[in-house]
Amino acid sequence: MTQDQMSGRDGEKRVGTRNIIEARDVEKWFGDFQALRGITMSVKEREVVVIMGPSGSGKSTFIRTINRLEEHDKGTIIVDGVELNNDLKNLEKIRSEVGMVFQQFNLFPHLTVERNITLALSHVRHFKKADAHDMAMRLLERVGIPEQVDKYPAQLSGGQQQRVAIARALAMQPKIMLFDEPTSALDPEMIHEVLDVMRELAETGMTMIVVTHEMGFAREAADRFFFFDEGVIVEEGTPEHFFTNPQEERTKLFLSQIL
């Protein structure tokens, strides 16, 4: 049985065979507190991985080590063939290939929606102004809000802001997208508009690591699923395995609380 068939979907998307992210025995301390106690995980090209776990379990810390917003203290992380360490000369280049969407959106409040999207295009990718504008318009259409191009972030709803944030990350044409609880700061009626965009992105074959508590999204879009607790991976498997037949007591307890 191939990897694709194991993902349980009918082959619109093919999960690759190459590991685009490899993390081995990753450990991270904040002072005396150990946030990650040896995480080993690999993600294949075009794979969608969902990470769940209680707060403080290290799931956000882990995905932040992948674009080095947090430096890991032990273990190795290899992203697209490049190992992350302190000697890295071109950290900016690696980061520009890993898009990230934050819980609090983190749009730049003093810039228009267009400038939010085109800033890095102009200064990292050296796009011409007109090309950057075209790219911004294409992406805004893709996330469904082209009419907001000249607005400032504060003039948009939370759901619209998060969609702009996704467009901003996509503008760099990243190979990997990281989502750090992208819907946790949203009102319930705005969650679905963001999840729709993410679902569509998953279908186009983007490699994604998503930290979320949205069960519906995990069930439909995830290829693989990880449950974190206290800085370790407690359980991993397909969503089916997870939702129908969890093995660990800690997982069962967590699921019973949020389902």
Binding site: E97, V98, Q104, L119, H123, V124, M172
Partner: protein
């Protein structure tokens, strides 16, 4: 209706309000009457002085001293050239950036005209009005279809460069006359404008250095800021005057055996150096507050996009940090403007120095009240306009902010 937080009573209830608040009981009534008498006496005294007993000739006979000090009359065209260039640039910038009619700025300028006309004989009044025309000309140029439409962004970039270039340009032009002859309002403004514009970038660098992860840089910045903030400006001015020649320049002349005596031609530059050192330390602390007000998520989002440190500072962090502290920055600028009067201790004849000189002239001996009132009015006009400008800038930049 409220003004500055006070309830202003409706006209119909004014009398009732007065009775309830000012005349409720014999004690309060006595207090009210007493205060009214006191205020009346004080107002009468001041009014009587201003309109009757004051000898305003002390001012009118010394117009030139108050405005440009010992700057030769024949060379005054240099000052006018600077004023015209700055007024034209101001008008142009207003057209390119502000969303508000220039009538406001012109209104402020017109309010100042009586002062200048009172000061001026025909020629100077004409030239003053001319600078208003330069402002209008710059504005009209900025509002031409080409500049307000297609080439707006180019025009803005050029305008920024022109402003930067206008500083050395102004200095070189004014420097056709030795700085020891500069005086009055001219000297006050030169010290303020150059003090602020030179100190500001240093202040930003010091603030960034204080937040640096390199211990050497951080220690140097913290040390500089804390030492300078612990010393009075007047001390720094003296130190700049006596130590600067030892630290840079003239010590070489001592090495070659040439003695340095008397007031150096570079007193103005030394005073300026002292002001810059002092202002940079205070500005650094204000900017640091702004840097701390920018959420960490902003830097993280910028990093995640692959922007480098300079881009993150220039496009994301500093614009938000400085915007957050505009009121405090302008407050610092205003106090710096007033603090320049301390250069009096270096025997420079700034606005305050001019006032002191006038009240020592044989004809006007002891006319301190007139001269001090007059320069107080000038200080107030400039400071008030700086404060107004800051509100304007805040309004212009406030778009899109919550």
């Amino acid at each position: 209706m409220t003004v500055a937080g006070f309830q202003i009573p409706d006209r119909r209830v004014a009398w009732r309000w007065a009775r309830e608040n000012l005349f409720d009981g014999s004690w309060n009534t006595a207090l009210t009457v007493g205060m009214v008498v006191l205020i009346g006496v004080a107002l009468y005294g001041v009014g009587n002085f201003v309109f009757a007993s004051a000898e305003w000739e002390a001012i009118t006979a010394n117009r030139k001293l108050f405005f440009i000090g010992a700057y030769p009359r024949d060379e005054a065209w240099r000052i006018w050239a600077v004023i015209y260039v700055l007024a034209g640039l101001g008008g142009l910038s207003w057209a390119l950036w502000s969303r508000i009619s220039p009538l406001l700025a012109i209104g402020g300028a017109i309010a100042m005209i009586p002062v200048f006309v009172f000061m001026a004989h025909g020629e100077v009044a004409l030239l003053t009005l001319g600078s208003l025309a330069a402002f209008g000309g710059g504005y009209a140029f900025g509002k031409t279809p080409a500049l307000s439409g297609r080439y707006r962004n180019t025009a803005r970039t050029v305008a920024v460069f022109l402003w930067i270039a206008s500083l050395p340009f102004s200095w070189v032009l004014l420097d056709g006359v030795p700085t020891r002859l500069w005086g009055g309002l001219l000297l006050t403004m030169v010290l303020t404008v150059f003090g602020i514009t030179i100190a500001f970038p240093f202040g930003v660098l010091l603030a960034l250095g204080r937040a640096s992860t390199f211990p050497v840089i951080r220690l140097f910045c913290v040390g500089f800021i804390e030492i300078v903030r612990g010393v009075p400006l007047i001390t720094i001015l003296f130190m700049a005057f006596f130590l600067l020649p030892l630290a840079i320049g003239p010590e070489r002349t001592i090495l070659f055996g040439i003695p340095v005596t008397g007031v150096d031609t570079a007193t103005v530059q030394r005073a300026l150096a002292g002001i810059v050192i002092f202002a940079a330390a205070y500005l650094a602390e204000i900017v640091r507050g702004g840097l701390q007000a920018v959420p960490r998520g902003q830097t993280e989002a910028a990093k995640a996009l692959g922007l480098n440190t300079f881009h993150i500072l220039g496009f994301i962090v500093l614009p938000q940090a400085l915007r957050a502290v505009i009121p405090a920055l302008v407050g610092q600028f205003i106090s710096l403007f007033k603090d320049t009067s301390l250069v009096l201790v270096l025997a420079l004849t700034d606005l305050l120095g001019a006032a002191r000189q006038v009240s020592a002239q044989p004809d006007f001996i002891g006319r301190q009240a007139e001269t001090l009132l007059f320069i107080a009015l000038i200080y107030w006009i400039v400071a008030f306009n700086m404060s107004r400008a800051s509100q304007q800038i805040e309004k212009n930049l406030g778009v899109g902010e919550r």
